[in-house]
């Protein structure tokens, strides 16, 4: 459980994508994709390689511009904002290829995730004024309590670049949830994790979603993980949404099977 005392209050907000299209040059990476993620809901995005899954994440987090459509968080339209502004509104993500800062320690990585929560002015910081110091101390305490959440406090002084792949995923997920964001985007969180740890990951993600009312959107290839973790599955193929349904229904969806098995 996240200690309520150390967690900032996150206001539940729904993410809504309406007719989102993204193009690179002449290529369309996403075409008219509409998806909702409600607070407390875990939605998985699956699809063959090149289906546009990571592009979808990049569009939501502001790293690529939309060619058409709109994205809203709660009442607010967020497409067109800078990535750091979108992050400040409470959308946090992890990266497929690992998003940790390799030369910072584990503790410093988590602290970096708390960037927008450390309330200190530049002047106060430079002069080492008491309230800047206090803000730092509080952030460090909170980062340590986050590390203890996954029982990896012992790693805090290790350089992130020297951790094993599985440890890096754990730290990155912790860093993403550090601010208690209303919406969490996980890009292949299970890569590099041993099967037993995958099961634990499922539990962590579901617990976060249900107890903290966080909406989770995740990309994953490990199908057993997807089936176990998600309330709903969205299937992309060639940049278009071809299915959006409960896991059981997706299993027997013809279009999905075709996309995965090929068109013959």
């Amino acid at each position: 459980m996240i200690d309520p005392a150390t967690a900032s209050s996150s206001i539940a907000r729904q993410l809504t994508l309406t007719g989102v299209s993204v193009g690179f040059g002449g290529l369309k990476a996403l075409t008219g994709v509409s998806i909702d993620v409600r607070p407390g809901e875990v939605v998985a995005v699956i699809g063959p390689n090149g289906a546009g899954k990571t592009t979808l994440f990049n569009a939501i987090t502001g790293f690529v511009p939309l060619a058409a459509g709109r994205i809203t968080l709660g009442e607010e339209r967020i497409d067109g904002l800078y990535p750091h502004d979108i992050s400040a509104r409470g959308i946090r993500r992890t990266f497929q290829n690992g998003g940790l800062c390799g030369h910072l320690t584990v503790l410093e990585n988590i602290l970096a995730g708390l960037h927008s929560e450390v309330r200190s002015s530049i002047v106060g910081t430079v002069l080492g004024l008491p309230n800047a110091r206090r803000a730092e101390r509080e952030a460090v305490a909170r980062a340590r309590s986050l590390l203890s959440l996954l029982d990896i406090g012992r790693l805090e002084q290790q350089q992130a670049g020297t951790l094993s792949g599985g440890q890096q995923r754990m730290v990155e997920i912790l860093r993403a949830i550090a601010t208690n964001p209303p919406l969490l985007l996980l890009d292949e969180p299970a890569v590099g994790l041993a099967p037993p740890v995958r099961i634990q990951l499922i539990e962590i993600i579901r617990r976060l979603a249900k107890t903290q009312n966080i909406g989770v959107l995740l990309i994953e290839h490990a199908i057993e993980l997807v089936m176990g973790v998600s309330d709903r599955i969205v299937v992309l193929n060639y940049g278009e949404k071809i299915a959006d349904d409960a896991p059981a229904a997706i299993r027997s969806n013809k279009a999905v099977l075709e996309a995965y098995l090929g068109h013959g």
């Binding site: 502001g62 790293f63 690529v64 511009p65 800078y82 990535p83 750091h84």
Partner: protein
């Protein structure tokens, strides 16, 4: 007047194009920007100076020797200094290139002192008229050598096995390694070719300007200006950018102020990067963060 300026501008620009192309070869092959490239240019000229003035060797043989020597030096720098840290941070690679450049400059200064040396008159002197334009044989030789080099480069890259290798490595280093291309040998060769082209540039530049260790800096910046203007990483861009820079310098000098010739390259770099960072033929150069 204008015709004269255009002719001289092209001759000057051809030299910039040559150095810019040499840097592009290395950049495309290894994604390293050789911030020490100006010093290779200086080194090429310096070797010729040593051979011609101090050892009394004939110019053509000295030039050939210098080009071969710099080729070997380029390969050695890659194998000994660049390759071992290729896996490290990009900044370290750039710093290594800077350090190698400074080492060369220091070495030249150790031999040379602080003097500015007049390069021997190795190219034919005098001028002749073609219509209203005064031509110097040296202009023709310089421009001709550059065109010949570019032609050879084009043939090598588009019609030989080395060219096919280059295309494969430019697209994906890992992919090229997977299909059995010796990436290390290839990249070493490209460093060699880049250094040899730099040497040629130095041999052609020095008779026109003077020879001094800081020749490196002004050459480097002009090559960057040419690459930026043409679009970073584009061979065509480097060639066209070099020509345009040569022309701009002469036009600025003639019509605005000769004081501004020296900073034309700086202003082009700053202007292009602010207005159109991808240059004329480059790919997208900005991030969206």
């Amino acid at each position: 007047m204008l015709a004269q300026l255009l002719v001289s501008g092209v001759s000057q620009g051809a030299l910039y194009a040559l150095v810019a192309l040499a840097m592009t070869v290395i950049y495309r092959a290894t994604t390293v920007i050789n911030f020490g490239h100006g010093d290779l240019v200086m080194a090429g000229a310096f070797v010729v100076y040593l051979l011609v003035v101090l050892a009394g060797a004939p110019f053509l043989i000295s030039a050939l020797l210098a080009v071969v020597l710099l080729f070997a030096f380029g390969v050695a720098v890659y194998k000994g200094l660049i390759r071992p840290i290729m896996a490290g941070p990009h900044l370290a690679l750039a710093m290594m290139a800077v350090a190698v450049g400074y080492a060369l400059r220091g070495l030249a200064r150790v031999v040379w002192g602080r003097e500015v040396l007049p390069f021997p008159k190795v190219l034919p002197q005098g001028t002749f008229m073609v219509g209203p334009v005064i031509l110097a044989p040296s202009d023709l030789i310089v421009t001709g050598s550059v065109i010949a080099t570019v032609a050879i480069l084009a043939i090598v890259f588009y019609a030989t096995r080395l060219g096919k290798t280059a295309q494969a490595v430019f697209q994906s280093e890992r992919g090229a390694a997977l299909v059995g291309i010796n990436v290390s040998a290839f990249q070493g060769t490209m460093w060699g070719i880049g250094a040899a082209m730099a040497a040629l540039g130095g041999i052609l530049i020095a008779p026109v300007t003077l020879l001094y260790p800081d020749l490196a800096a002004s050459t480097l910046i002009r090559a960057f200006a040419a690459m930026t203007l043409g679009g970073f990483g584009s061979f065509l861009g480097a060639a066209v950018g070099g020509m345009l820079l040569g022309l701009s310098e002469l036009l600025v000098g003639a019509y605005i102020s000769s004081k501004l010739i020296d900073i034309t390259a700086y202003l082009i770099i700053i202007g292009v990067l602010l207005i159109r960072p991808s240059g004329l033929f480059g790919r997208q150069a900005v991030v969206r963060v």
